[in-house]
Structure formats: structure tokens, C-alpha cells
């Protein structure tokens, strides 16, 4: 009797757990995509990983979750192509009249989605509104603009109070996207945030917070109507769930596949993997103020001990690029001739011995607990450090606490994870905030040579001079081994084979206008 109960209970539990092993079989066996929950014809369904930004007003947010959809509802004066070139958008041409005044010639015949016309009034309204709202997270990006002058309905001049070489790039997105004056004056900003109107190829007709968005084609779009009839964006924060939506065919495009689940996509007929380099780079930062990290030999030893290639191949399944300094391959300031410390555990042990570090010394390694992939990277690195005699104590931290309290206050352990999305693709922003003494992200490291090199590259527009300065900075950073650059992450999407014209965006800004469904 006892055995019967025991057996039945264990069998039930084991069966339920064992069912998981059947799941991959059924996914492969299922070649047909079930029509039961399929979308109407001409509708693209996207499983979005980044979530609901909560407010569609361009000046209300800096989140990537806004940018990836917002760029289809609104247009800017200029746009940035996936190849990072600046092209005309709502402005047909522009020129600097003086270094501090920028004139734009505007496109004629463009209408907002509510019918009102696009003209200089709208441009002036947009920027005046932005510059009046000091609580906007976008505000600080455009402080170089002091006023907008309307010359005629299709010509404006932006008067600047400072030279800003990056300004034109910044006009391609976010806070500088043009908004409809009459609509906002009629309905107010709160309503506008939930029912956005722009000049873009898609109009938001239904918005269910935290659930989904329905975008419908704007047939009067100035560049011609989009090929899709509508787009349904569903917010699906869980990676497993997104994969399952692929397996049932409920979504045509799946955002952000974790590297460990890429095999699910390749085994699934009807979908293909689309991986592209993202601007996000990952590293282990070493706190040079805490012993033994103040010893350059120890820092170099750690660099030799961590096998970055194995991590990329095994943990990331190959979906990552090696880096030599804390920037991606496309970044201006990256020295392609320089390579990272090779994997050499014997050398690491020799250096540790020379530094007088006893075997079994414990180091603390803090990281962002919500990043499941990096948790594995951290454990792999910890194992490799264990092999050269260092004992690592991993501490997963709450994301916000980690980035905003622990790191700036030097309480993040002797080693800590650091991730950075360098969207400007210029090393200046990263280098200044991370290596210049006294910056928010650099509580303790200081190097006089680097500081003077940084001032040099910031004060000139001569790209050749800047490049040389950056290469010198790269060399010092490498020699000083202030960090362990790990990899540049790939961004991985799954796309159904019936989707045409799709380009996986390296900066997450989806371009839906040219996409069509077969």
C-alpha cells in the first residue's frame, strides 16, 4: 500500500516534469502554423520584448521601447539610415548660415494623420514645447537650441547658443520629432500621449496599456503608403513566451531571442534567425581603489585568466563579437589593430604570484541580477578565475540599486558587470564618463594622461587628431588593464519567412514602412 502511494505520487510528478522533454519533439513535428489564432490578412504581428513606454509623446521619454515604435508614427526633420547616414526626412535640405544658425527647407505637401498641415509653425511649436519643459528627459539633449525663427511657411532657422557637432544626428529622433500643434492645443498633452498623431507611415488606432498596440497604415504618407495594412505589436516580456508565440505562429516577428534559445528558432520551419551587432558592449570593471585591484599585475592577471572566446562561443552560442576596449567594432575611436588579452591561465598564475596574492583569495563580483545571460557569463568567468586560484563571490543585485547607487558609490565589489550602449558610435561619450576623473560613472579611477587626451579630442573637429588621441587612450587603458572587456552583444530576432523587406535594426528602431507580408 505504501509503495503504491509512493510510486503513484512520484510517477505523477516525474511524468509532469518529463513532459517537458516531449515538447521539443512536438515543436519540430509541427510544420503547419495553426490558423486558429492567426491575424487578419495584411497584418504583421510583432512580439515586442521591450515593453510599453507608457507615453507616446516624443518629449516624454528616452526609452528604446519608445523609439522602436515611435519612429513609425512620427518623422523628424532628418532621419538616420541603418547604415548610420543622415538623410532628408521632413526637411528637404539644410545648411549652416553661420556656425550658430542652422537653416532648414521644409518639405511641401505633408499632412499630419489628423489632416492638419505640416509647416514651419509645426516645427516652431515642436521645439518651443520641448525647450519649455525642463522636466522632459529629452530636454538636456537639445539645450544648444536657443530659438526657432520662422522665415516663411517652409523655411525655418534654428538659432543655437553653442556649437553642437552632434545636433543634426539628434534631430533624427526622439525629442525632435515633429508634433501637430492644433491637435495638442485642442486635446492637451496627456491625451496626446495616449493618442499620438504624427506625420509618419503608421497611425496608432488602439492602445491597450501593457498589452498591445494596433498601428494602421497611413495611406496619405508623403513617401507613399506602406505595404502593410496594419501592424499589431504585442508586449511580451518573457522570452519563453515569445518563443512559444513563434511555435504557434501567433507572431510573425519575435524580438530579442536569448542566445540559449536560438536552437529553437533554427529547428522551427518557417522562421529564420536574424542576428545583427548591437551597440551594447559588456565588460567586467575592476575597482582600482579596492585592494588587490589597485595592483596592475593583479588586473592583468585577471585579464589573462578569463577566456573571452570560450564565453562567446559557449555561453552566447557564438552570438557576440570580441572587443579590445570598451567599445564596439563600428565605434569611432576603436583601434582595429589592437587585440584583447589572450587566454593564458599560466601567465595569470605567474602574475598573481609576482603580486604576492595567495591562492584562495576571495574577490567579490557584483552584477545585475535581472540579466540571465550575464549571470552565466559571470559564473563562467568565476570558474576560470577559480582555476588560477582566485575565489569569487558572486552577488546578484537589483538593477536600479546596482547602477544608481552601488557603482557610483564604489560599493559594487572589487569586480562588477558593466554594460553600455554607445548609440552615438563615438568613443567620446563612453570614455569621458567612464575614465575621466570625477564623473558619475567613474568614482575612483584617474589618470592624468587620459584626462589630457580626453580634453584634446573634445575640443577639436579634426577627426584625424581625435582618432590619434583615442588610439593613445586605448593603449593606456589596455596597459593599465582597468577592466576586462568581454564582448559586443548581438541582437537576435526571429523573422517568419513570409515577411519581406525586413531589416533587423542594430539600434532597435524598427522601420515598418518597407515591410510586406507574402
Amino acid at each position: 500500500m505504501k509503495r503504491k502511494i509512493w510510486a503513484s505520487l512520484v510517477a505523477t510528478g516525474a511524468t509532469l516534469f518529463g513532459l517537458t522533454s516531449l515538447a521539443p519533439l512536438s515543436a519540430e513535428a509541427q510544420a503547419q502554423i495553426h490558423p486558429r489564432f492567426a491575424a487578419p490578412h495584411g497584418q504583421l504581428v510583432i512580439a515586442d520584448a521591450l515593453g510599453d513606454p507608457g507615453n507616446w509623446d516624443p518629449i516624454a521619454t528616452f526609452a528604446i521601447s519608445w523609439g522602436e515604435i515611435g519612429s513609425n508614427i512620427f518623422d523628424g526633420l532628418v532621419e538616420r539610415t541603418p547604415e548610420m547616414k543622415i538623410e532628408p526626412d521632413l526637411a528637404t535640405s539644410w545648411k549652416y548660415l553661420t556656425p550658430k544658425s542652422l537653416e532648414f527647407t521644409l518639405r511641401k505637401g505633408v499632412k499630419f494623420q489628423d489632416g492638419e498641415p505640416f509647416n514651419a509653425t509645426a516645427v516652431a511649436f515642436t521645439f518651443n514645447r520641448l525647450l519649455a519643459d525642463k522636466s522632459s528627459p529629452q530636454y538636456s539633449n537639445y539645450t544648444a537650441i536657443s530659438s526657432v525663427q520662422i522665415i516663411n511657411p517652409y523655411k525655418v532657422v534654428l538659432h543655437l547658443n553653442a556649437v553642437d557637432p552632434v545636433l543634426i544626428t539628434k534631430l533624427s529622433g526622439y525629442g525632435a520629432m515633429i508634433v501637430p500643434p492644433k491637435y495638442i492645443q485642442l486635446h492637451g498633452s496627456t491625451y496626446f500621449g495616449n493618442h499620438p498623431i504624427g506625420t509618419g507611415p503608421f497611425q496608432m488606432v488602439s492602445y491597450k496599456k501593457d498589452s498591445s498596440i494596433l498601428l494602421v497604415a497611413n495611406t496619405h504618407y508623403w513617401a507613399g503608403p506602406p505595404k502593410l495594412a496594419s501592424v499589431l505589436v504585442k508586449f511580451v516580456p518573457d522570452a519563453n513566451t515569445r518563443i512559444q508565440m513563434m511555435q504557434t505562429g501567433e507572431a510573425n516577428i519575435i524580438e530579442t531571442i536569448p542566445p540559449s534559445l536560438t536552437s529553437e528558432v533554427t529547428s522551427q520551419s518557417g522562421y529564420s534567425l536574424d542576428a545583427t551587432g548591437s551597440p551594447t558592449v559588456y565588460e567586467i570593471r575592476l575597482d582600482t581603489a579596492l585592494p588587490p585591484m589597485n595592483n596592475v599585475l593583479v588586473r592583468q592577471a585577471i585579464n589573462y585568466a578569463v577566456d573571452k572566446n570560450a564565453i562567446i562561443q559557449k555561453i552566447l552560442n557564438g552570438y557576440g563579437q570580441p572587443i579590445s576596449t570598451f567599445q564596439g567594432n563600428l565605434s569611432f575611436g576603436n583601434d582595429p589593430a589592437m587585440s584583447n588579452y589572450p587566454y593564458d591561465p599560466k601567465k595569470a598564475q605567474a602574475l598573481l604570484k609576482e603580486a604576492g596574492i595567495k591562492a584562495g583569495t576571495t574577490l567579490t563580483f557584483d552584477y545585475d541580477g535581472s540579466d540571465a545571460t550575464f549571470a552565466e557569463v559571470a559564473q563562467a568567468a568565476a570558474e576560470e578565475l577559480q582555476q588560477v586560484g582566485l575565489n569569487v563571490k558572486l552577488q546578484p543585485e537589483d538593477t536600479n540599486t546596482f547602477y544608481n547607487t552601488l557603482i557610483p558609490k564604489e560599493k559594487a565589489g572589487q569586480m562588477y558587470e558593466f554594460a553600455w550602449g554607445g548609440w552615438t558610435l563615438d568613443f567620446d561619450n563612453t570614455a569621458y564618463l567612464l575614465y575621466h576623473k570625477g564623473q558619475f560613472w567613474d568614482p575612483d579611477f584617474g589618470n592624468a594622461t587620459i584626462d589630457s587626451l580626453l580634453s584634446k579630442e573634445r575640443s577639436t573637429n579634426d577627426q584625424a587628431v581625435r582618432k590619434q588621441a583615442f588610439f593613445k587612450i586605448d593603449a593606456i587603458l589596455h596597459q593599465e588593464a582597468v577592466e576586462v572587456p568581454l564582448y559586443q552583444a548581438d541582437t537576435i530576432w526571429a523573422v517568419q519567412k513570409t515577411v519581406k523587406g525586413w531589416v533587423t535594426p542594430p539600434d532597435e528602431r524598427m522601420d515598418l514602412w518597407s515591410v510586406s507580408l507574402q
Binding site: W6, L261, S263, I315, D371, E383, D398
Partner: protein
Amino acid sequence: MSSIPETRRSVLYTPRVPSRFSRVLWNLLGNQGGLTGVFLVTLVFVCAIFAPWISPHNPTAGNILNRLDPPAWMAGGNPTFPLGTDPVGRDLLSRIIFGSRISLYIGLLSTLLSVIIGLPAGLLAGYFAGWVDDVIMRIADVFFAFPFILFAILVLALFGPGVNNLVLVLGISGWAGLARVVRSQVLVLKELDYVKAASTYGATPGGVILRHLLPNVWGIVLVVSTLNIGINILLTSALSFLGLGLDPIIPDWGGMIASGQLYMTTAWWVDAFPGIALMLTVLGFNLVGDWIRDVVDPTMSR
């Protein structure tokens, strides 16, 4: 016995009264549920105590070249890793055996903390009623109403991650539920004739509580507590899932299940086996709790 006259004692049959211990033991041997429960709980404690001697490998050492090896009996399996390896190449069986330590520690201690706070609170609130009840229950309401996640983030952000802080979080967020259930039981018991009668013959409130109420709430306390042991271990798993867990190098079942979530369809053993270990542990504790209650409680119908 002493009132019976000496001369008659030899005539009367004096049964040998077995000691309480052997009575309990006989009961256990006849009760399948209890026996299973004791067996499972003993197994878990054996794993925890003798882990270094019975596990085949070091649970914290691994090599990512062995990442996600399947169990030994499957294709691609390696006999040195009987249940397979985890995403960073460590032996799963060893981690499960060692994982019993942390999981037991967290489960038992946090539940104990909840009982230490919640049981007296519930007894006092139920028995004294009036303003005592109001104050205690309103404080309990504050604990209920406060979101667990916010509380967890607060404690972990202020005091750092770690096993003891986790015990604190779980124990403190659990006392209010126990207090409420105890209180509801006391409210019923309080109205029973023999409890009411107690105060008439001069029993102090403390006496009533200790001698009449406490023995009768043990049942529900045991049932709820043994449930809480499992729930608390599962909550650590939930916290790990949300990124608020423990050092992932040190094995704990909750964290192992969370880290295996991504591999449910590709490497199912990573969270299946820790999950089975957890399930058997929870089952064991609950069966034992039920059996203890059955033995102690004389009013139960059979």
C-alpha cells in the same frame, strides 16, 4: 492506582502502559503517509548533513566545455555526470545534494520566524479581542497590504543580497497570514464551553491560552507551517527569477529552477531534477506535519 487497597491490587489486572514514545512509534509504523513523510524528510536531512561525502563532484566547480550535458542514460550523456550538467558545466546531482542545505536552511528558518511572530500575535488577538485584536490585526493588515516585491527589494537593496536577509524577508512577510489563521481558530475555540468555563474557576488568561488554546491551534499551525516551508523555498525561486536571488555559484534549488527556466525545452533536466527534489521535500514535510497533528489531536474522527 494508589487508592485501590493493597489486597485487591493483585487480583486486578494491571495492564502495562506503554511509554508515550513507543505509542507514537507504533502509530507511525502503521501510518503510511507519516512513514513516507519521515522517510523523505530524513533523506533530505541526510543529503544536507552528509553532502560532502555522498556527492560525486564539487558542486561549485565546473567547466563551460561540459555545459548542458544530458543525463547519463541519454544520448550525449556522460557517466561521470549522472543527472547531467547545468548551463555552466557543473554536475547537477552534486548541486542538488548540496542544494538541500541552503533550501532547508531558508525554508525552516523563515517558517520558524513567521511562527515566532505570528503565533503569539494570533493567540493574543483572538483571545483578548477588543483593542488588542484591533491593534494587532491592523499591524498585520499593513504587512499584508505592503507588496512583497517592494519589501524584498527594499531589504535586499538596503542590506545586500544574502541568505539571512532572504530569511528575514520571507519570515517577516509570512507572519501576518499565520496570525490571521490562528486568530480565526481561536475565535471559534473561545466560545467552546470548556474554554469559557476555565475562566470561571480562576484560570488566568495566560493559563487559558497555554493550556486550552495553544494545544488546539497546533494543528492548524503545523499544517500552515509545513506548507510555508515549501512556499518559502518557491518564493526564493520567484525572487531568483526576478533577479533578486542568491550567489548562483552556491547551489540552492530555487535558484537552480529559475536558471533552468530558459532551458525548459532544450535541456529539461536543468530544472526538472531540482524541481523533483523540491517537490519531494515539500511532500515529505507536509506528510510529517499531517501525521504529527493526527497523533497529537484527540478529537479527530477516524
